[in-house]
């Protein structure tokens, strides 16, 4: 069932751009017949009745982006925004693009997703949006044994994934304040934590299959996961 939350789904794909006529950004690679970014966009927007889908790209990739959207993401109105030099700048640019709608109350929640995570399911996007709407923020996490990283540690450690969702108005304020202060967070949650430390960010148990394509092996893992899902989602 589709969620009625008014959400903006921001998918980040502003890595290194086109060189000598062909891009080297991994989000444009094919994964079982469809580009990685197309899978991320379709999964992000699939289960929202009132969703706005934003794709943040390197300006050099615009031609490739438009051709990909035309061919593989038909039926979804995707708005293209140029990214910045860092992840934080790209998020800021997306939020500035959405600012009029956020201020007008047309967007309740913003979800920010890494385009290189094509296996985040439509259900996860809804779960994050609903938790963020209820509590202020939500991030998908996987618990890891702290001793794997440091044998002296015994506290709970989690690996954080995306999509990360927050109440739109506060997220916009946080990024506007960060721009004034010159602060750049490592991810969306870091910026929110700095400017709205009292906002409750829910930890949603995620799936290990929500891999971020980083190493060559991750592509093989993603192919296997898609085959197991019958090439759905």
């Amino acid at each position: 069932m589709k969620s009625g939350i008014k959400a903006a789904l921001v998918v980040l794909a502003a890595g290194s751009g086109t060189r000598f006529g062909h891009t080297t950004n991994k989000v444009w690679l094919p994964l079982s017949g469809r580009r990685i970014i197309s899978r991320s966009l379709v999964n992000a927007s699939k289960n929202f009745k009132h969703g706005r889908t934003i794709l943040v790209i390197n300006p050099d990739d615009e031609e490739m982006a438009r051709a990909t959207l035309e061919r593989e993401v038909r039926g979804i109105d995707v708005e293209i925004v140029y990214g910045g030099a860092t992840r934080h700048e790209s998020e800021y640019n997306a939020l500035q693009h959405l600012a009029p709608a956020i201020k007008a109350g047309e967007i309740e929640v913003v979800l920010i997703h890494d385009g290189a995570r094509p296996l985040a399911t439509p259900a996860l996007f809804v779960e994050i949006a609903e938790a963020a709407h209820r509590h202020g923020g939500a991030i998908p996490t996987i618990a890891v044994d702290a001793r794997e990283m440091d044998t002296a540690r015994s506290d709970t450690v989690v690996r954080v994934q995306t999509p990360q969702g927050f109440v739109a108005q506060q997220l916009l304020e946080a990024y506007n304040s960060a721009a004034i202060d010159g602060f750049a967070g490592t991810d969306t949650a870091a910026c929110m934590e700095k400017y709205f430390p009292t906002v409750k960010t829910m930890s949603i148990t995620a799936d290990v299959s929500n891999v971020k394509i980083t190493y060559p092996q991750d592509l093989a893992i993603a192919e296997h996961v898609l085959a197991r899902r019958g090439y759905k989602d």
Partner: protein, 105 residues
């Protein structure tokens, strides 16, 4: 998607940094990746890949009519003009895919 060799920046476990990799595909499946700096090559397990290819093939065939229709709808003239060449070239394309999959056996 018809390209069989593509390039992308991925992390190389050997170089311990992001480098340009060459990726070889057979059909819709990845066969191997090679780091352009240290030449470290990562391959799929051949049997696994062949199994996956066989599993993927019916899905490719089943979705072909709708993909052709979408292509036609997008650009009827281009679609009609390239269809004969694409049709005759298909067996050779599949033969190339088969060779890519089997050459390391």
């Amino acid at each position: 998607m018809s390209n069989e060799v593509l390039e992308a920046e991925l992390n190389c476990a050997h170089c311990r940094k992001e480098t340009v990799h060459e990726l070889v595909y057979a059909g819709r499946l990845l066969v191997s990746t090679t780091c352009s700096v240290c030449n470290t090559r990562v391959e799929h397990e051949s049997n696994d890949l062949w199994d996956n290819y066989l599993k993927d093939l019916p899905h490719r065939i089943a979705t072909k009519p709708i993909r052709l229709w979408k292509r036609f709808w997008r650009s009827p003239t281009k679609s009609v003009s390239t269809l004969p060449k694409a049709t005759f070239g298909k067996p050779f394309k599949m033969l190339r895919e088969y060779r890519n999959l089997k050459k390391d056996d």
